[in-house]
Symmetry: C2
């Protein structure tokens, strides 16, 4: 079908009346929300801009006070408190907690990260690493925002390399308690949210030393401020002050000077010291213990990717709505001024990114459900847990990179107006910036994904350094595998049903995505095997790093495409499914176009085909331009939340 039949291409912007959503937009929302539609609709009907949209002009004290106040308010209304045990006041599942995070991110990213620190990281550490006593002691007040807490993992000296952190948690047998200490300046906890001002507690990551033996990284709960926020003895908190964004989050440093905590304060789900003073853990390997602990914290990474995507949806909504009302230059002859969105260059800036927003949205839904399945399995399916961690790492990296690039494109698409804070885009860009770094540096995460692909999830990917990975790869028998997502059935049916090589053929898109992943991962495996034998193994494995990034991206792209296809398959409204089909075409072809260098390098298609793909992307942009308003409505950001002066 042709979508443009009834949608003239020029000067025909027909925005719905302010605040109202077109029927098509509403139906697209329902499809993209998928299993989280009810949760997300509750936000749209009950949460106003007043509740969670920040004024970009506020200074640090105002923004920080506002973020805490709104967090408490929303928690009181049972928003953003999913994922905690119901007994302690939680409402909703782990998967729903991701959906809540995504909605929060449509309002303000400072508030989102403030909640992420309080509920996700601090609350998540207590929930996932602690046991019943910890839950009962801290969770009720954590949920309401009264027991404000920090997630004190990162140190000045060690960011990505968590296993090398220097803080110590030493068992003092004679007193039956622990001593938490920062032995060096590098051991200073850094970039910690809630540390500069509001935090009363901290979940402190440190090397657990019992009877002189290092049991690896564990977590102890330490009081860092009294209830009136006055300092406690032995703990020094610093303030990182002004940052590139997220001014509502009070990031700071913490150092510990021989601070004593009770034995019970060690979060001991995976290992602790009993009343007998002896260390015990169900997991023998220190490495495995460490990565099992970290693995339970995977939700944070999933949330960060989703939050970045929400901010991008908001930016695309602003820029597209503006492009549907702003004109510049005149039609030759006719003399009418031309809408920005009628220019090819402008369509090229926005429409492929709208298509990606849909693709990543469906993939993010699938990831949240996967999180729920792993949570429900309670450790019974370690391979599924590794798959989840890998997918979360890949998605986080892909989505936050795309977010930074795309919010910038949206800013530029609004010209000088895009640079005024009153139009909201620059704050989005500034706040989203650090998403590329926190919850795992993107470059490091992609390498973890590549390791997992090499080893077929047989090993926890944190288990080994690069040379170890190379050696393990060398031991692997046979080729690499390509695991299917939950879209398996529909993908197989598509592949069986069509052999068409037309650029519009979904079977061909799948084949191209699969092929790129398979070949890139196999090529990497070959290189890694060779590197394992090299005399200078650091240099040899180091030379594979760029290839690792390529393999990880190819893998994640394929996972995203499959989720999009499955999402369309789940959509019962045939008209909406047909629109989504075009959007999926655009996503698939734009992604293939971006990687056309690789495809031609590997003789997957020739130059003529490559040009045909570019032409198809151009044509899809023209076709979908007629549905641009409905498409951004479908991204699910309430018009009132956009808070951009240019749209008023």
């Amino acid at each position: 079908m042709t979508l443009t039949a009834d949608a003239p291409q020029t000067n025909q912007a027909a925005p719905a009346a302010s605040g109202r959503v077109t029927a098509t937009g509403e139906a697209l929302r329902r499809a993209l929300d998928g299993p989280f539609h009810d949760v997300k609709q509750r936000w749209r009907t009950e949460v106003t801009a007043e509740d969670f949209v920040r004024d970009p002009e506020w200074d640090i004290p105002t923004a920080r006070a506002w973020a805490l106040e709104k967090l408490v308010d929303l928690a009181g209304r049972e928003f953003a408190i999913a994922g905690f045990p119901e007994a302690q006041g939680g409402r909703g599942t782990q998967a729903q907690s991701v959906a809540h995070f995504e909605m929060l991110a449509m309002g303000d990213l400072s508030l989102t990260i403030k909640s992420g620190v309080q509920h996700g990281l601090w609350g998540g550490a207590i929930t996932n690493l602690g046991t019943r006593w910890h839950h009962e002691t801290w969770l009720p007040d954590t949920i309401t925002g009264k027991a404000t807490g920090c997630f004190a993992m990162t140190e000045l000296g060690h960011g990505s390399d968590v296993q090398s952190i220097e803080t110590t948690i030493t068992w003092i047998a004679e007193d039956g308690e622990f001593e938490v200490h920062s032995p060096t300046p590098g051991a200073t906890k850094a970039y910690i949210g809630n540390a500069a001002q509001h935090g009363k507690w901290a979940a402190v990551f440190g090397q657990l030393i019992v009877d002189g033996e290092n049991q690896g990284v564990h977590v102890a709960v330490v009081r860092i401020r009294d209830e009136d926020l006055s300092p406690v003895s032995g703990v020094t908190c610093g303030d990182h002050g002004h940052k590139g964004g997220l001014l509502g989050v009070d990031n700071g440093t913490i150092t510990f000077d021989h601070v004593r905590v009770p034995r019970t304060h060690l979060l001991d789900k995976f290992g602790g010291v009993g009343e007998d003073g002896v260390y015990h853990s169900a997991i023998e390997s220190k490495n495995a213990r460490f990565f099992t602990m970290l693995g339970t914290l995977v939700r944070g990474r999933i949330c960060v990717g989703g939050g970045a995507a929400s901010a991008t949806r908001k930016a695309l909504s602003i820029a597209t709505r503006y492009a549907l009302k702003r004109t510049q230059f005149r039609q030759p002859g006719l003399g009418e001024e031309i809408l920005l969105l009628d220019y090819q260059t402008h369509q090229r800036k926005l429409l492929p990114n709208i298509a990606k927003a849909y693709a990543y949205g469906f993939a993010q839904n699938e990831l949240a459900l996967q999180l729920q399945r792993v949570t429900d399995a309670e450790g019974a399916n370690p391979v599924a847990a590794r798959e989840l961690e890998t997918r979360a790492a890949g998605m986080k990296s892909l989505l936050t990179r795309w977010a930074n690039d795309t919010i910038q494109v949206a800013r530029e698409a609004c010209g000088g107006a895009g640079y005024l804070s009153e139009n909201g885009l620059t704050m989005l860009r500034q706040d989203a910036d650090v998403f590329a770094t926190f919850e795992g540096d993107n470059t490091v995460l992609l390498q973890l994904v590549a390791k997992a692909l090499l080893l077929d999830y047989k090993k926890t990917w944190g288990d080994m350094d690069m040379r170890g990975t190379a050696q393990a790869t060398a031991r692997m028998i046979g080729g690499t595998f390509l695991e299917r997502t939950t879209a398996r059935a529909v993908i197989d049916r598509i592949l069986a049903g069509s052999k068409s090589k037309d650029v519009g053929s979904r079977a061909w898109h799948i084949e191209m995505f699969e092929d790129r992943e398979k070949h890139t991962v196999e090529g990497l495996a070959k290189r890694m095997r060779a590197a394992a034998k090299a005399s200078d193994s650091f240099a040899a494995v180091n030379a594979c790093q760029q290839h690792m990034l390529a393999a990880a991206r190819a893998h994640t792209d394929r996972v995203v495409l499959e989720a999009f296809i499955e999402g369309i398959h789940q959509c019962e409204d045939r008209y909406i499914a047909s629109i989504l089909g075009k959007v999926c075409d655009l996503y698939a072809l734009a992604t293939i176009e971006e990687n056309r260098g690789w495809y031609m390098e590997h003789e997957r298609f020739d130059g003529a085909r490559s040009k045909a793909i570019t032409e198809a992307v151009d044509a899809l942009c023209v076709e979908l331009r007629g549905k641009a308003l409905e498409l951004v409505e479908g991204l699910g950001v309430e018009e009132a939340w956009l808070n951009a002066a240019i749209l008023r």
Copy 2:
């Protein structure tokens, strides 16, 4: 020669003592400064961080007051006042004024743009569009910063399309004066620097109406505030308030309500109303008049590209120096922690961008000299003037895009520390953002470049809309041309001397760059000719837009490569020239690699060759990593100006 022979690859960072520059770094600076070395060295020896580095935490009032104060101070010390007539207090040439702008941008971009508004735009309008009386009346106090002024061109309704602005400058014959008026809300002057707070005067662009006839856009000088900054009757100034960056620049709006100005206040170098009340101009065509006037303002565009490049050099200096001291993760086996810059992924982030910084630096020097030649010709060489405008548009677009992308890469390369304002990177990123938009939107500028290429500079590129361009293209006889830069002699010698197709062959690099330009422009010309005949000419020409961008980029890349080659040719120190040769290899190959999709699409090389190029880029990164400190020293930013806490 191999640069790495004496430079081990790991754990061997050897930064010079703080503030001292290595001999190699010093010599690289001299080479890259080229003809502007003396001007630039004076900044390095006389200007301290105190003089021009802003604290990122300042609020808007503090930042604005600081910017004005520092501007006055530097002007008093004869910095950044080049390009004005000596009789009125100017010191130095037009070309040198670009060099001053670039140095200022190594300190702070708010101060840079404040000076750009005051000296470049307001002062430039008086200088270039005014005549002797205007110079004598306004320039002396403009230079010192006492007569603060605005460049009131852009309007809310029309940004890129200056010819459609709505402000009117109407000749009132009976009173012998002009009336400046904003007839619609869209006529509001917007984004105007100095308008919100400090400006006393404005150079106002408006449609000149004399005896009912519109003579096109002209400029009148209007008083907008009294000497004590109190408002004047009929003029309303607004404040844009908080922006995405550049908080030290007081951007605002201006509207005029039937404001009268004396006849002499029209800047009448290219057209004005005489004492007899009759309009006169030496240029008959209104279009030609308009573009001649705009053409004299080309320096602003050149400065903006150069300023963005300076900010990027600063960001690369911070990130590279950090990567030479920061370690993360351990060597397998050995257990030593690894310097960030020893990772392939990190080298890939920084080194090709350092190479681009050199390439763009040499090209920018050449552009400034070209500006000087056109200025000296005083209108005698209109084709050279069009070439200059075209090159300025292409360079501005290329450099500001690269700046935004690369400062972000530098930020991410510093991890969480990069996000703290105390390390300077986020402010650079925020301030540089709008460089992609002001002084010409990048997308629009690239289309102007493409038009000029199609028409061999025979027409002023502003002359015609897209359909007109298509029709004119259709009329052009024969193929497209490829004009040589001043590097003609050395390029021809290289091409004559070597037929090697080795990836390291400079002749082959040149051939690849030329080929991409030539073929892209020819392909565009073919499409435009076809479009001129199409029934829906808007749609047909619109479909060429992406192709126009590609042609403009290919052209500008080739110009940059030639300037780099010429810069090396001018370098008398053979050791330095050999380092620069490697840097040029990296620039050329990284650029070819980025465009490998195009090259393979057009069968310029095959997949095996493409892979070899990638390997060569990797190898050059490894090789130049050993000279990384010297290379960033060569970028010319004094260590004391970096003002990044992580480097202390």
